[in-house]
């Protein structure tokens, strides 16, 4: 990988590395997996489902509502798994490159912990749901080829950061939702705990690379801002999986998805999920207000 145009990344990570070491746990032995989950409990907080707050939720039978929490939990954990696959492969290809030699110690913790998260998310889906949802189709080609090398590098870490921040919004709420089965709460809690370090690191590396992009060509910053806003919207869209609606026995999955995504209560919910990330991006000088139409 050619990263010579990028200045070496130097970050103050001692505290995060110490926390990763002192908080280390064995994921393979720390959870108690029940044989089955209580049938009358939601698997995902009802307020976090993609139909929450709309008449589309109220129109469902209780069985459909519970089934939707089940399949949207499997979708949410599947998205985590595919997101982790992407970010791990990107980070693995960079660790021990010269640009990242100063942060490689933390990257080792990061890769290790992400692998463990992927394991417990998959355990949950396969044990209780019997499946994962497949990754959605992507175009490998093109969409950031027009950017400079350092901006493309920024986008790699921005995607990781945004993905983690969105997921963390859900984890933080579900970690304490007493209506969920204990194991679902635990997975969310443990993930939330580790992700606070990953988000802190993600923000530091993002700011470092953004400074490099702005220093090279300030005109490129609004282009990056536009990409990031699209990525936020895209990420929200992935939560609305028509396959989960079909599995929950809800008809007209695609039309329902379209209606739900555009519903004012949902648009408000999306703003709430993205609020912290958008505030961070704006403060960093790469918020959506820069987008030139």
């Amino acid at each position: 990988m050619a990263v010579r145009e990028i200045e070496p990344i130097v970050l103050e990570l001692d505290r995060l590395e110490q926390m990763a070491e002192s908080g280390y746990y064995n994921p393979y032995t720390m959870f108690e997996w029940p044989d089955a989950l209580e049938p009358d409990r939601p698997w995902m907080s009802e307020s976090l489902t993609t139909l929450a707050g709309t008449p589309m939720w109220d129109e469902l039978t209780r069985e459909q509502q519970l089934a939707l929490t089940k399949y949207e939990a499997i979708n949410f954990f599947s998205l985590n798994i595919h997101g982790i696959r992407e970010l791990m492969s990107e980070v693995v290809m960079r660790i021990h490159e010269r640009t990242y030699s100063n942060v490689s110690e933390f990257l080792h913790h990061f890769i290790g912990e992400e692998n463990e998260h992927m394991w417990f998310f998959a355990q949950f889906c396969l044990r209780y749901g019997g499946k994962l949802y497949p990754a959605q189709p992507t175009l490998k080609a093109a969409s950031v080829d027009h950017l400079s090398q350092v901006a493309r590098e920024l986008i790699v870490f921005a995607r990781i950061l945004i993905f983690e921040e969105i997921v963390d919004h859900y984890n933080a709420l579900m970690a304490t939702d007493q209506s969920l089965p204990h194991i679902a709460r635990e997975i969310n809690r443990v993930h939330h705990q580790d992700e606070s370090r990953h988000v802190a690191f993600g923000r530091m590396i993002f700011l470092n690379l953004l400074k490099q992009v702005a220093g090279r060509d300030p005109e490129e910053v609004p282009v990056v801002a536009e990409y990031l806003e699209s990525y936020l919207q895209y990420s929200i869209g992935t939560l609305y999986n028509p396959a989960a609606y079909r599995d929950a026995g809800i008809p007209d999955a695609l039309a329902l998805r379209r209606r739900a995504l555009a519903h004012p209560a949902r648009v408000q919910a999306h703003d709430k999920v993205l609020k912290r990330t958008r505030a961070f991006l704006s403060k960093a000088g790469v918020g959506r207000e820069l987008i030139k139409r």
Partner: protein, 81 residues
């Protein structure tokens, strides 16, 4: 132009305010009129318009490159044998 293809055109124009029109042979992917972030939405739109599921692992990118190819693949009555 067929009505579903008009919907496809509207989807692309809505996401590309700088485009006034879309030539039938414009490469939608190379020109980034449909980028990787819009691609999933685009697949869902085609599924809804055709009523047919598109298997993400089986799709051929060339079927999506131009409006002409999209019309031929998704909106032309297949010849019966």
């Amino acid at each position: 132009m067929s009505e579903p293809l008009q919907k496809v055109r509207e989807f692309i124009l809505e996401r590309n305010p700088k485009l006034d029109e879309i030539p039938d042979d414009l490469d939608l992917i190379d020109s980034r009129a449909i980028n990787s972030l819009a691609f999933v939405e685009f697949i869902f739109l085609l599924e809804e318009l055709t009523g047919e599921a598109i298997d993400p692992e089986e799709l051929d990118l060339d079927d999506f490159r131009t409006l002409k190819a999209i019309e031929a693949r998704f909106f032309t009555q297949k010849a019966t044998l």
